[in-house]
């Protein structure tokens, strides 16, 4: 067992100073983190009146002997580091020796703890002063009981919010830690009512299932990618689900839950063009990076970290999420999830997710009738099995022809010119391409798919890639409306990057000499006219947004339409081109390009299971 010691003043001075406990939720967070640092396998949290009346955290961790228990209550006393160098790559949540004394100084606190051997000690502290220390037997572990929080600090007390609001913050803090450590058994109760029971879970997905329901957990896409020294794992929302339910963010770096707008933005960037602007996805991401590549000692509440190199880290996150969105399982599925027993009975094309059993916070602050956290889909049920299997397989939508190679994922990143194996394709209603996949029947919307292909090609051209432009024998003369002529002038340079070479003839007449040639059926004049129409009246967005808007608009206008008959060769090249895009399963409006009808779903409908 490590022993507690007071840090030398020069070390203590190097620690990010500031307010450690500002509300009940921060006290709860500190206490749970102490329990986890002590190696607890189970942590029970009891909250009274949102924490205003009391907070109690019990663990089965290492516990402390009498001397350590007393020392732990002093400022800068810690067992977790000794010297300033230890701060680099510190693995434990704690390292300041601040939390216990800080809480103790603004409350009535009882620390009841026992180490493996030894009698057990209870220390009573009132407003920071140790009142009583006595022998008190208990099993190995620690219980910290905090009451009358901030009663002696009128300024703080004034800022405490309603019990309901404070409870909400506590529940969020507990959830955040629960997601960071799925293997620890955790319970949470409020005013004597058990609101959450989280058995040890093998994976983040299983833990999310226990918190928000199995159906929710299963609807998320697995992220798993290593780039340079950064591994990004976790779960993110399917584009087709974004905006249909509460948004949830969980970002952890080396096991520590943090806030980081930059990483969130990077992950969101990966969704660009798959969801409508303004919608923001739920993200549960865990980064593992070399300990010395991140500084955890920058924020008094340890809610933020500093990366030695931020840009590559954000790149890694964006890349990992993008890759997750590129697999077949990210496509919308038909019917209810196979593993939920078909209870939802949704019809074809109606996936209709309901929010999990607990959507953020119970509406009544947890005091009411439905505030039960008990997991519906037990993480060790059948569901979790299938789910894990699926998650680990990462089923690529488009198989690479060389099965041995890294596969379609690489091809889709443009790193290798892997041959794409094209399955037999059938065109339905001159609108969809259908093919058979190991997981079931897959349908591709030909227009959406082509739109995705062209979008990426046009974006590439706008971002500095090259584009072939066909000179015309007979230049096109377009007489435009004032607004369309305006839109043309605004975007002139971009149009030319895309291959539309044109000169203005004063007034509203434009003469086009050369045009892109994205496919043999391309109707350049109509595409240009419709694009200009769509662009008229646009506010002046930023450059990046303008690129995307233009690429998306032209892609939409230039893509083959529903109702066009495709030759087998055209179907094959569309398939290959789609497979080579980075986000094959989603079109630029956030709709699906691909819909899966899983075998299980078919079998269920035919009464085979």
């Amino acid at each position: 067992m490590p022993t507690v010691a007071v840090l030398p003043a020069d070390v203590a001075d190097q620690i990010a100073a500031g307010e450690v406990v500002e509300r009940p939720a921060s006290a709860v967070k500190e206490l749970i983190e102490n329990a986890l640092d002590a190696g607890a396998s189970a942590v029970d949290v009891e909250i009274f009146e949102g924490g205003r009346a009391g907070v109690r955290v019990s663990d089965d961790g290492s516990g402390m002997d009498r001397a350590d228990a007393l020392l732990a209550l002093q400022r800068h006393a810690t067992s977790k580091i000794r010297r300033a160098e230890d701060l680099v790559g510190v693995q434990s949540f704690g390292f300041r020796g601040e939390a216990l004394p800080a809480i103790a100084s603004v409350s009535h606190l009882t620390l009841h703890t026992a180490a493996e051997r030894g009698p057990g000690t209870a220390v009573r502290v009132v407003g920071g002063t140790i009142e009583r220390t006595e022998e008190a037997p208990r099993q190995r572990g620690t219980t910290v009981d905090v009451t009358r929080l901030f009663q002696n600090v009128p300024a703080r007390l004034k800022f405490m919010r309603s019990a309901r609001t404070e409870w909400r913050a506590v529940a969020d803090a507990v959830t955040a830690i629960a997601l960071a450590r799925p293997s620890v058994h955790m319970t949470l109760s409020h005013d004597g009512r058990r609101v959450m029971t989280l058995p040890p879970a093998p994976t983040l997905r299983a833990r999310i299932g226990a918190v928000w329901g199995a159906e929710y957990a299963e609807s998320l896409l697995a992220v798993h990618d290593t780039h340079n020294a950064t591994t990004v794992t976790g779960l993110v929302e399917r584009p087709s689900d974004v905006g249909t339910r509460a948004r949830r963010i969980h970002i952890a770096v080396n096991g520590r839950t943090i806030r980081d707008a930059g990483l969130v933005r990077a992950a969101e960037a990966a969704y660009r063009s798959t969801i409508p602007a303004g919608l923001r996805p739920s993200l549960m991401l865990e980064l593992t990076i070399p300990a010395d590549a991140v500084d955890v000692n920058v924020h008094p509440a340890k809610a933020e970290v500093r990366f030695r190199e931020r840009w590559p880290t954000e790149r890694a996150v964006e890349g990992a999420v993008r890759r997750a969105l590129g697999v077949l399982s990210s496509a919308a599925a038909v019917g209810p999830r196979v593993w939920n027993g078909g209870g939802a009975g949704a019809g074809l094309g109606a996936p209709a997710y309901e929010a999990g059993p607990w959507n953020g916070v119970p509406p009544d602050g947890g005091n009411g009738s439905n505030g039960d956290y008990d997991p519906r889909g037990a993480p060790n049920g059948v569901g979790a099995e299938i789910l894990r299997a699926l998650a680990s397989r990462g089923d690529p939508l488009f198989e690479a022809a060389d099965a041995a190679g890294a596969g379609a994922a690489d091809a889709s990143r443009g790193e290798a010119a892997t041959e794409i194996a094209v399955p037999p394709l059938v065109q339905l209603r001159r609108t969809y391409l259908m093919f058979e996949h190991a997981e079931g029947v897959v349908l591709i919307d030909q227009h959406s798919a082509h739109e995705r292909v062209l979008y990426e090609r046009f974006m590439g051209a706008l971002e500095g890639g090259s584009m072939a432009s066909q000179h015309l024998l007979f230049p096109l003369t377009l007489h435009l409306s004032a607004a369309a002529a305006d839109a043309f002038d605004t975007h002139r340079a971009l149009f030319s990057r895309l291959g539309f070479e044109a000169e203005g003839f004063g007034g509203h007449t434009v003469v086009v000499h050369s045009v892109p040639s994205p496919h043999p059926r391309f109707d350049a004049e109509r595409c240009l006219r419709e694009t200009l129409d769509a662009l008229t009246g646009d506010r002046q967005p930023g450059t990046a947004a303008r690129h995307e808007r233009l690429a998306a608009t032209i892609a939409c206008k230039a893509a083959i339409k529903a109702g066009e008959e495709l030759s087998p060769g055209e179907m094959r090249s569309l398939f290959v081109a789609l497979a080579r895009t980075t986000l094959p399963a989603h079109d630029v409006h956030g709709r699906s390009t691909v819909v899966r009808l899983p075998w299980e779903e078919l079998e269920r409908r035919f009464g085979r299971r």
């Binding site: 010119a417 584009m467 000179h471 015309l472 024998l473 050369s514 109707d523």
Partner: protein, 370 residues
């Protein structure tokens, strides 16, 4: 109506007309073949309303008349019959019986009144043209028409008839094919026609090269006629774009290249070119042309060829599939390419062609924006 016809004659007539019958139609009678008796036999006709084809075959007519019969069924029956005379008779307006040896069929036809009447074209002042000349024009130009629906004019072949020569031009706006052949006293005056390529395909298929044809224009129809067979087609309304203005006169860089080697090099480059644009680059220099292609995600390729070249060095990009298509139609072993600049039209012509016809193709380059 009653007549007897040999199985071969029946099959021959059906084969001529069958291709003009639409495979899908909302007007049921169009799926039928019209059979009418004539002095010497019977006339079979079919149409999809754009093009009408009719042909006469010999038969023994006992009772004159007319009826329409489902084309597909009649063709299938004719194919399977024993090689014996076929007796066809109507009972009433639409019942048809067909007997051949021991085989007997009863078919339900549609009364002839429902069959659309052919456009009236007066052959009184027709052009008289050798079918072979027409064949030559068609086969060298029709490939270049546009298949895109945005400019219907370009979906047709321009056919200019002049007292002493005729010309066909086809283009999709990216490349163009043009051929002239001299004619000896065609007959009627000058005329510019825009003809659907489907009709020209029928003309090529139905009229043997050695026949002389009569060609006459109606309101907005065109008729082709040989003694036994005729084809009528709708014309596309003009005007055709001013193609003559875009044919370069001042291309000063000239390459003479062996056609087979050039096609071979292009076909090799196309393997690595982008599926969409087939873009390849040609670098022309004295005595040598280098080919190169780079396609992101796929790879690159180079090739080179010894050529005769006069002019300054030039780098120019093309859609290789356009070049290949043109080369396939070039009648000579060597071809002559002319250029001006990377943004200007290139021409391709036969080199050392002794034929009285004149042939010119034109390709607009493909530029790489980067």
């Amino acid at each position: 109506m009653r007549f007897t016809i040999s199985r071969e004659k029946l099959q021959e007539g059906l084969a001529m007309v069958a291709a003009s019958i639409p495979s899908k139609t909302t007007l049921p009678v169009l799926a039928n073949i019209l059979i009418e008796t004539t002095d010497k036999g019977i006339r079979l006709s079919g149409t999809d309303l754009d093009i009408a084809v009719s042909t006469e075959v010999t038969a023994d007519v006992e009772v004159a008349g007319a009826v329409t019969i489902p084309a597909k069924k009649l063709t299938e029956i004719a194919r399977e019959l024993m090689p014996s005379p076929v007796k066809v008779a109507t009972a009433g307006e639409q019942r048809v019986t067909l007997e051949c040896g021991q085989s007997k069929f009863k078919l339900l036809g549609i009364p002839r009144d429902e069959f659309p009447t052919f456009p009236s074209v007066r052959f009184a002042d027709a052009w008289r043209i050798r079918s072979a000349d027409l064949h030559q024009l068609i086969s060298h130009t029709v490939f270049a028409v546009s298949t895109e629906e945005s400019r219907p004019i370009l979906n047709g072949v321009l056919w200019e008839l002049r007292p002493d020569h005729m010309r066909m031009v086809a283009t999709n706006g990216h490349r163009l094919a043009k051929m002239d052949v001299p004619i000896a006293g065609g007959g009627a005056g000058s005329s510019d026609l825009i003809v659907p390529p489907k009709a020209l395909d029928q003309v090529r298929r139905l009229f043997p090269a050695e026949e002389d044809l009569e060609i006459a224009r109606g309101e907005n129809h065109l008729g082709f006629r040989s003694p036994l067979t005729s084809v009528f087609t709708r014309l596309i309304e003009g005007p055709y774009p001013p193609y003559d203005r875009v044919i370069p006169r001042d291309n000063d860089k000239i390459a003479i290249i062996d056609k087979a080697s050039l096609s071979g090099a292009l076909r090799r480059m196309v393997i690595v070119a982008s599926d969409q644009t087939h873009r390849i680059r040609m670098s022309l220099n004295t005595g040598m042309v280098k080919f190169s292609v780079q396609t992101p995600d796929l790879g690159e390729a180079q090739d080179e060829l010894a050529i005769r070249y006069t002019g300054d060095p030039l780098d120019i990009g093309f859609n290789a599939s356009y070049l290949l298509e043109i080369l396939r139609n070039m009648p000579t072993e060597d071809v002559r390419l002319t250029f001006k600049a990377p943004d200007n039209a290139a021409t391709i012509e036969p080199e050392g062609w002794s034929d009285p016809a004149k042939y010119l193709c034109l390709v607009m380059p493909l530029r790489l924006v980067d």
